[in-house]
């Protein structure tokens, strides 16, 4: 426990509050992109409907379930810590890590498939299959938003891997599991953002 805190309870609560405040900043950070999405979709609804067909609903849906699963397992990891089940902490963190990796692999294939068709962001866009002068805007937003989300997944992978390593060294128990708690909160937000990205990009009628 750090010396400027009175007790472990205060330290844990402060860490949680600090993480929630940080999540507020993440919500506003992504919020700017969501705002741009809303503005452009209201200006060009037909573009969004047409362009969305290029995205594969199946794989988007699978990725949604993958992230939901990983949220479940990270919550399980916290529960294991609270119940002092040290081996289960590592197992649950390991599964979370694996699911996160699956997400990135699927994402990789989605993106490369699009590159193959000439669907690149911004001025590198060369795909001719959508009859709209501003088709590149939809895909620019797609790449920006899923890309920023992907960066956050990669950061999450790094954090969870570090937690996994620490858990194998026995650093966590029912008295101290704060890093898992706050990393879990971060990871759930990453899940929530995808919960919105999925219908907004993949499920436009």
């Amino acid at each position: 426990m750090q010396h400027h805190f009175v007790d472990a309870e205060q330290q844990f609560d402060a860490a949680k509050m600090g993480m929630w405040i940080f999540l507020v900043t993440e919500i506003l950070f992504f919020g700017g992109l969501f705002a741009a999405y809303i503005v452009y979709r209201l200006w060009h609804p037909e573009l969004f409907t047409m362009a969305s067909e290029q995205l594969d609903t199946l794989w988007g849906g699978v990725n949604t379930l993958v992230l939901i699963g990983s949220s479940l397992t990270v919550a399980m990891a916290i529960k294991s810590a609270q119940l002092n089940q040290k081996k289960n902490i590592a197992i649950n963190l390991g599964i979370t890590l694996a699911l996160a990796a699956v997400f990135m692999v699927i994402k990789y294939f989605e993106w490369t498939h699009k590159f193959h068709l000439g669907i690149f962001p911004g001025e590198f866009y060369t795909f001719g299959g959508i009859d709209h002068p501003q088709a590149n805007i939809f895909f620019s937003l797609y790449y920006l938003m899923t890309g920023l989300h992907g960066i956050h997944v990669i950061i999450g992978i790094g954090l969870i891997a570090w937690l996994l390593w620490r858990s194998t060294k026995g650093h966590f128990n029912s008295e101290y599991y704060t890093p898992i708690e706050i990393t879990g909160l971060y990871w759930h937000l990453v899940d929530i953002i995808w919960i919105f990205l999925f219908p907004l990009f993949y499920l436009i009628d």
Binding site: A35, I68, K79, L185, I195, P199
Partner: protein, 100 residues
């Protein structure tokens, strides 16, 4: 540590199950024709409900210090202000004057 809520397996699996069902629902609804603007509202409604489940029961807001919930709601409120006031401009632009 005392005072920390420990979720049961039942709760966690139940929430995950609910999220699974809602994901299937949101995809299914996509294939049913719903006129604008309701289709987007249904999709967002389901997404909001899913996010609420994650926030309340995975992120433990249901059992946590209420200030943390306030923080979460506040961020959404300010996001809404960003969007709302921007739309006050972008949706009400006058028609482009023909060149003369």
């Amino acid at each position: 540590m005392s005072g920390h809520h420990i979720s049961t397996d039942r709760t966690l699996l139940g929430v995950a199950g609910g999220l699974l069902i809602l994901t299937i629902l949101t995809v299914a609804v996509h294939y049913v024709y719903i006129p604008e603007p309701w289709s987007i509202m249904v999709a967002m409604g389901i997404a909001i409900f899913k996010a609420t489940l994650v926030a309340a029961f995975f992120m433990n807001l249901y059992w946590d210090d209420q200030f943390n919930t306030l923080l979460f709601i506040a961020s959404l409120a300010f996001f809404a202000l960003l969007v709302g006031f921007t739309l006050l401009d972008t949706l009400f632009r006058p028609e482009i004057m023909p060149a003369f």
